[in-house]
């Protein structure tokens, strides 16, 4: 029993010593692979001037919200260049804690994402779920998902919108798996820039009206706002703004050729409010910081590991000291010194092998189970 407990403690100590560096190395590798992959698959990105890291991370991984925004007019100008496929994104809202991404069908074409079931969001109020998102929410086609209230204490804020699940995407092993996609129009409705309510006409009761002229009818807050878009009320939804002025968080562009990409980027280099970015390069810069941090951690782990190894060496030496009589008895019984040495070494080697295995399994399990942690890192 004593030996079992002793071995278990030794394995636990070694496992913990090995686990942290392994876990960090694996997680950083996993992190850098996934983030680099995403960067490579997004050749150009246009967004409001500001922090390039924030813009890249929010556009590629749907985390955070850009402080300022572009407009559809900016998107249209970029699109009219005809140098590639431009895709607008509207970010910053969530539904059941998953990011809601407003975009166009081109997004799925450019990223080569297909639906596992159903269709991509084509009409107002439709949503298509990323693979992981659908699994986590246990959502099926036809289900409804309510968007999260932005600010519970803001009485003037828009109502949450009930999205109808019309499709589930195939697994992409990217941030797309954990997102909910809607049309740009739906995203604007969620943001409150568009809305739907019971029709206002001559038959509307007077107690629901603030004012009425020949040209315009103004309703008060008692008018029924629709929180769901369906076949019967879809025509009641409208935007109180010119389409060109509606906001876009960022625009990703898939140029026809590298030359087109360079020209497009060059054209916007000195733009007053738009910055062109190559996500690949931004990600490299970001990874450089991560790698530097990892080096810092590595040196810390190296010192901790060295201290642990020294402690374990003392422990092993003490253990050998207490087993001196045992080794002498083995020798007297005809066991060679080499075999005795091998027996004791084998014990240490077995401990190290098991510890390394446990540490590796633990580190991989953490990476596998902790993909959320990786997401949080972003």
């Amino acid at each position: 029993m004593f030996h079992k407990v002793k071995s278990a403690i030794q394995i636990a100590a070694l496992t913990l010593t090995f686990f942290l560096p392994f876990a960090t190395a694996i997680m950083v590798k996993h992190f850098s692979t996934s983030i680099t992959e995403r960067g490579k698959n997004t050749p150009l990105l246009f967004g409001p001037k500001g922090d390039r890291f924030d813009l890249t991370i929010s556009t590629l991984f749907f985390r955070g919200d850009p402080l300022s925004q572009l407009s559809m007019a900016d998107f249209q100008l970029l699109d009219e260049e005809k140098r590639g496929l431009a895709v607008p994104l509207s970010l910053g809202f969530t539904a059941r804690k998953f990011p809601v991404v407003g975009t166009t069908v081109d997004y799925f074409i450019a990223r080569n994402i297909v639906t596992k079931a159903g269709t991509v969001p084509l009409t107002l109020g439709d949503a298509v779920l990323g693979n992981e998102c659908a699994t986590t929410l246990n959502a099926q086609i036809g289900d409804h998902i309510l968007t999260d209230q932005v600010n519970l204490y803001d009485l003037s804020a828009s109502y949450p919108l009930k999205l109808k699940v019309v499709g589930i995407l195939d697994q992409t092993k990217s941030a797309d798996d954990n997102a909910i996609f809607t049309s740009m129009g739906t995203a604007w409705v969620i943001s409150g820039l568009g809305h739907g309510h019971e029709p206002l006409n001559e038959e509307t009761a007077n107690d629901k009206l603030l004012g009425k002229t020949e040209k315009q009818i103004t309703a008060n807050a008692s008018i029924e706002q629709f929180i769901e878009i369906n076949k019967t009320n879809i025509n009641e939804f409208h935007f109180h703004s010119d389409l060109a002025r509606l906001p876009v968080s960022s625009i990703i562009v898939f140029p026809k050729s590298p030359k087109d990409g360079t020209i497009l980027k060059a054209k916007y280099l000195k733009h007053q409010k738009i910055q062109p970015l190559e996500p690949n390069k931004v990600i490299d810069e970001l990874l450089d910081v991560v790698i530097r941090l990892k080096r810092l951690f590595d040196s810390s782990y190296a010192i901790t590991s060295l201290a642990s190894v020294l402690f374990l060496t003392v422990l092993i030496l003490l253990s050998l000291q207490t087993r001196k009589r045992e080794s002498k008895a083995l020798f007297l019984m005809g066991c060679s010194r080499g075999t005795i040495c091998m027996l004791f070494s084998a014990e240490i080697i077995i401990l190290c092998i098991f510890s390394t295995l446990f540490a590796l399994v633990g580190a991989y399990a953490l990476t596998f189970l902790g993909s959320d942690i990786l997401q949080l890192l972003l």
């Binding site: 009589r325 008895a329 019984m333 005809g334």
Partner: protein, 224 residues
């Protein structure tokens, strides 16, 4: 006429950087005899036993065991001789608590590369375990045995290879007189059954009547 198993002639032994020396002009130990090595502490009892076992090599002279001169063997050959021909009983048994009783019994086979655990060995282990009354405890650990059972297990382990010589190094050193007598009687009984020659290092003069020969090692040693 009794046959001689161990013959020592003109043996001289001295440890490096020590003023102790052992000088045995002639000594013969018969097969299946019971020999007690006595003498004051530090007089060379263990040294003589280790010379007979082939652990130490004499500085001069010869030690013949079954007519084989141990002095002519190299360390590896002496180790092999020890593994095959000598069984050891230690004062504190030196059983390995992390091995089962059966594994402890077969330990001499497990630690020697040139020895295999054959069906014959297994049968011998069972037979010895039965004769010492622990056949139902072969899968237990030594810690689960009583003191007497542990002591009998240590004796059985010394006999498992069917050695010609069994060296018992103060097997009763820590015991009261009554228990010491029981242990010694058990040791003698088992070694007699297997026909091994028993060489016992002891300080206990009350046990000497159990032995056929008593050698006072102090007569052969001196300190300059």
């Amino acid at each position: 006429m009794t046959e001689s198993l161990i013959q020592i002639k003109n043996l001289k032994f001295r440890y490096d950087k020590s003023n102790f020396s052992l000088n045995v002009p002639e000594l013969s130990i018969n097969k299946q005899s019971r020999v007690a090595l006595i003498g004051k502490s530090g007089c060379g009892k263990t040294t003589l036993a280790h010379l007979i076992a082939g652990i130490l090599k004499p500085t001069e002279g010869s030690i013949l065991v079954s007519e084989k001169d141990l002095c002519s063997l190299n360390e590896s050959e002496r180790r092999e001789h020890r593994a095959l021909n000598v069984g050891f009983i230690f004062q504190e048994f030196e059983l390995l608590n992390y091995l089962r009783v059966k594994e402890n019994l077969l330990l001499p086979f497990m630690i020697n590369r040139k020895m295999e655990i054959t069906n014959e060995c297994q049968a011998r282990a069972h037979s010895l375990a039965e004769s010492i009354g622990i056949s139902d405890k072969l899968n237990q650990y030594p810690e689960q045995l009583s003191g007497g059972e542990r002591q009998r297990l240590a004796i059985a382990r010394a006999l498992i290879t069917d050695p010609a010589i069994v060296i018992a190094d103060e097997p009763t050193g820590n015991l009261d007189n009554e228990t010491a007598l029981t242990v010694m009687q058990e040791t003698l009984k088992q070694t007699t059954e297997t026909g091994a020659t028993l060489i016992t290092i002891t300080h206990d003069k009350t046990l000497l009547n159990l032995f056929e020969t008593t050698i006072n090692v102090g007569d052969f040693s001196k300190t300059d």
